[in-house]
Amino acid sequence: MSKPHVIIIGAGFTGVATAHDLALRGFDVTVVERGPIANGTSGRTHGLLHCGGRYCVKDQESAIECIEENTILRKIVPQVIEPNGGLFIGLNDSDVEYAQDWTAGCEACEIPYKQLTPEEVLALEPNINPEVKIAYLAPDGTFDPLRLAMSFAATAKSNGAKFRLYTSVEKLIIDGKGNVTGVEIEDRTTGERGELHADVVVNATGAWAGEIAEMAGADVPVKPTPGVMVAFDQRFTNLVVNRLNKPGDGDIVLPQRRMVVVGTTSFEVEDVDYIPVIEDHVELMLERGAALIPNIRNSKMRGAYMATRPLIGAGSAGRSVARTFKCFDHQESDSIEGFVTITGGKATTLRVMAEKTSDIVCDKLGIDVKCRTAELPLLSYRQFYAQP
């Protein structure tokens, strides 16, 4: 009996993690990606391995997902993670007042934390703002976005998944009943066109999920919500530094290699293929970053860039939408068979997003195989290219 074939559109975080999960469950998997691995939102992620502290007051569902997945990723893919932890620091009375809600939120979500005195925190990280009034340590981390994606892709590949990079999906192939049976593709390295057929097509295109769903006549309520990030050329801390208050613009500074990266802002767009970096936002990142680490003003900007979050749901203000993900079986939502969309979520939760998506694919095909990705260490990211 031949294995069921699943096509995954998109080699961002959800695409590669779903490829890994399904390959491990015995599926024949083909990933179709119009560019290289993680060239969209995923590659341009801030790189914060969330402990959940950012969400534990307003969005506990996300916070719990974050701490669970943070713990798993540290075990299965340590080769791409700076695991050192993060600080949540308060600089004014409003921050100090927020501490009560924050610690209660951490406890509700089972996020481990430890209070540090201002003296202790300055001894630990001498470059943070000496005005610090209150500080907590929690298990944040930093990851390398491309290498995180490559680790999942490498392991998927070793289990037989095929990756068609630089290959765009021109159309979905739809049968007489309106069901999705495959994709029409163009290999952009040669210009050759072709068709691929599958039992299920998974739309894992994040901020672009609405565009692909439209090809099937389905509607996905994804709101592309970009934010700017700025990298500076000094590594001022080993710990992530968060502002201890409600999530806002430029309130996270994270160390990465020899840099710190300050992020981020939040606004909405319609067309996601090219979003220019907005100069005012860059200035704001410098200002907000320097509030946490004053020395940032004495460093040189190394890069400024924009990434587009795929936020889910109706409503208007970007920050109020829950950051949790959604997986749509279009059989249920639009009576279209053979088509699943996964979008929303965040980098830290890529593995569980893939697990839920793979569960739906299994259900649709009546296959009962359990997910094993939470226990299995991933291969070296380099094996993505080292394998033929």
Binding site: T189, Q234, Y274
Partner: protein, 243 residues
């Protein structure tokens, strides 16, 4: 108000087995944008068939190395004003010494395979790759030492710039030899046998082009010299026994 420059972006093109050629795009740019922004706009607004690699857009991933006006640049952190002028030309070509996949994207499989073989550590203790004077290294009263992602981002630019790598694909190349030095040769016979030969540490001709183009503080050429010393020490240790 941001300044605007009019430039000509000249782009290397190659599809399948066909002969390469160059495309020209007249563009209005802000000189304080990055070279990669201009390349991405060609794809977004002018030509969807353009292939190029990129991911992080801030010099942590190493995907977007290209030759810009003949010199290897990490295009996500290279300002347009650094490489051309108003009315000028910006020519982008793929890295050398790797097979071209299409247009500006190359297959760096050989680099990644070798980096795994020589055991370069992608994450290591902060004290082993310190990050400048403003960077705190070791907190007191910390039980476990902090670790961080390595300096080398495996962009392949040192291999592209290396005149020796152009003469033979068997040469391990600057990033890989620097990676071996980072791993440490201390009595590791399989590593020593990989680097102590004519395609390894002794092939380097000291052009130091690798140091010139390295965007990530590795200075591979200097590390190759250090690796030679370490290999010689190992030979002596082999002759006289370790003390």
């Amino acid at each position: 108000m941001s300044t605007k420059w009019n430039i000509t972006l000249v782009v290397y093109r190659q599809k399948g087995g066909a002969a390469p050629y160059y495309d020209e795009f007249k563009m209005e740019v802000n000189p304080d944008e990055y070279v990669l922004d201009a390349v991405e706009r060609v794809w977004a607004f002018h030509d969807r068939s353009l292939c190029f690699a990129h991911a992080c857009h801030h010099s942590t991933c190493g995907a977007c190395g290209m030759r810009v006006n003949g010199v290897e640049k990490l295009t996500c952190i290279t300002l347009i004003r650094e490489v051309t002028s108003d009315g000028g030309t910006m020519k982008v070509e793929p890295l050398r010494n790797f097979p071209v996949i299409s247009d500006l994207s190359v297959d760096m499989g050989s680099l990644f395979t070798r980096m795994d073989q020589i055991g370069h550590r992608s994450v290591l203790p902060v004290s082993e790759e310190p990050a400048g004077e403003k960077s705190p290294v070791l907190p007191q009263a910390q039980e476990e030492e902090y670790t961080r992602l390595s300096d080398c981002i495996e962009c392949g630019m040192c291999i592209s710039a290396c005149p020796v790598a152009t003469t033979t694909a068997d040469y391990l190349g600057p990033a890989v030899l620097a990676g071996a030095y980072q791993h440490g040769v201390n009595g590791d016979m399989s590593l020593i046998s990989m680097v102590d030969n004519a395609d390894g540490v002794w092939r380097c001709h000291h052009a130091f082009e690798c140091n010139e183009v390295c965007p990530s503080f590795v200075d591979p050429g200097t590390k190759i010299m250090d690796l030679r010393k370490a290999v010689i020490r190992e030979r002596f240790r082999g002759l006289f026994g370790s003390r």
